[in-house]
Symmetry: C2
Subunit: 306 residues, 2 copies
Amino acid sequence: MNERDYIARCLAPLATSPAARGLCDDAAVWQPPLGRALVFTHDVLAAGVHFLPDDPPADVAWKLLAVNLSDLAAMAATPAGVLLGLAGPADAGWRAGFAEGLGRALAQFGVALWGGDTVSGLAAPVLGLTAIGWVEPGRALGRAGARPGDALWVSGSIGDAGLGLAVAQGRAPFDKALLNRFRRPTPRLALGAALGGVASAGLDVSDGLLIDAQRLAAASGVMLAIDLAAVPLGRPAAGLDDLLARVTAGDDYELLFTAPADVDVVALAGKTPVTRIGTVAAGTGLSLSLRDAPVALPARLGWEHQ
Amino acid sequence: MNERDYIARCLAPLATSPAARGLCDDAAVWQPPLGRALVFTHDVLAAGVHFLPDDPPADVAWKLLAVNLSDLAAMAATPAGVLLGLAGPADAGWRAGFAEGLGRALAQFGVALWGGDTVSGLAAPVLGLTAIGWVEPGRALGRAGARPGDALWVSGSIGDAGLGLAVAQGRAPFDKALLNRFRRPTPRLALGAALGGVASAGLDVSDGLLIDAQRLAAASGVMLAIDLAAVPLGRPAAGLDDLLARVTAGDDYELLFTAPADVDVVALAGKTPVTRIGTVAAGTGLSLSLRDAPVALPARLGWEHQ
């Protein structure tokens, strides 16, 4: 199947928005909602770097969309459309599975494919996705803005995706739920939208709770004091080393955010589980404790992209 | 240099717009001009497919930006910002040259880097760029809309980039001007913006004048009658075969468009050279002639992406 046929048969059915113009023009055209600020993100997933070469293509498509929508959620934005850059081998089965998975993920999150580009002739897939969303002006969330006295919160549970990676790599027994946390993360779109204009700072946990917390602390010019005992885990940890492995594993795609102490974050979050895990203090970096006993920072806080 | 240092040293200086938030947040935030429609395009360039592995990285960056801005121009849009997806080897020299070239190209076309993603660990570069622009509502140009009786126009000159590719591949003697047409195309932004709401249909010539003309004809449901003798060439053609090679070579990034016969396109185009090369007629496909003598369609009309 050449590019034209692939686009016509597999991708055009996903381009349900008028903005996509049926994928027949050189670009998408969209009339944005009046008076909104627009939010743009672009993340790349490469085989062998971000996913395993034999991961199911539908899962890769899901993750590609989810990690980008998670960036929108972290900015308190509501997604509107995406552009896809699909480069890889001319493997018809892989490509069809990818398009089918992308279609399901787009439908799940209520987003449409607006356009993009496809290329064959590469040895392994390199996938880019641009997600476009909107937010009320002044309500976009950023990493700077946390103030001493604010509470530190995280959504969902931390470390399950790291356990899922071990399953995917055959280092741990098969566990569908954990594998799905790694392969099919859920962007916290509803929570993100609710936090706009209320939370003082936020980001999504992609590289590890601790390293992402450190980035938020650095951008805000504050210290984050985290009670490791409060960090919500999907599965109980077997001691401190295991707990530290969870909070440095990454791929969680939960939201880590700060809010003034008097905000009723649980009510604001509605159906999304949220847990208070610490406090913003004056200073720099992270301060860890476990039920009031100080814990030394591990040497590795998460994934540092080399 | 790891990803963080590369972003901080080489890419952050290109992120001059407030929308980029210093590349410090999860996404860009932009307040679009009031009442405008927005235009989005994403094109991928891969080493070995779209450019030669030893092409200078600054030229690759230029072309990556130019081909995307050319898509905006083809839709009559004015560019506002771009997101970059840079995946490739951790080759510090190549990456620095790429960033420097991208910076020069962004400055040349008055566009800012808003965000994106970088990945190392790949054998060869795969580059994606999303360009975001705006157009007055209802003035976006598309491929459908040409009507019998309209005139068919093309900007600049055709076939030079194909000659430049031969130079780059060592199949033709060194010629800086031709090489630049291949490696550093100029998106026709001013012309594109002027054509919005006036031209009836248009696209940019990326795969070959004839194949792109055929696409415009198909989208509009018309026939395009092209006088090959009128096609503007940068260098004289040595006979019909050579002429046919030029009009099927591609990589021109000129605008091919139709307009009602009574529109003064030359005046509208201002400083951009434009040439009338044919007429829109009822029917389908292309009809070629050379000074009133019919010419058979060549078997290959341009690049078909396999």
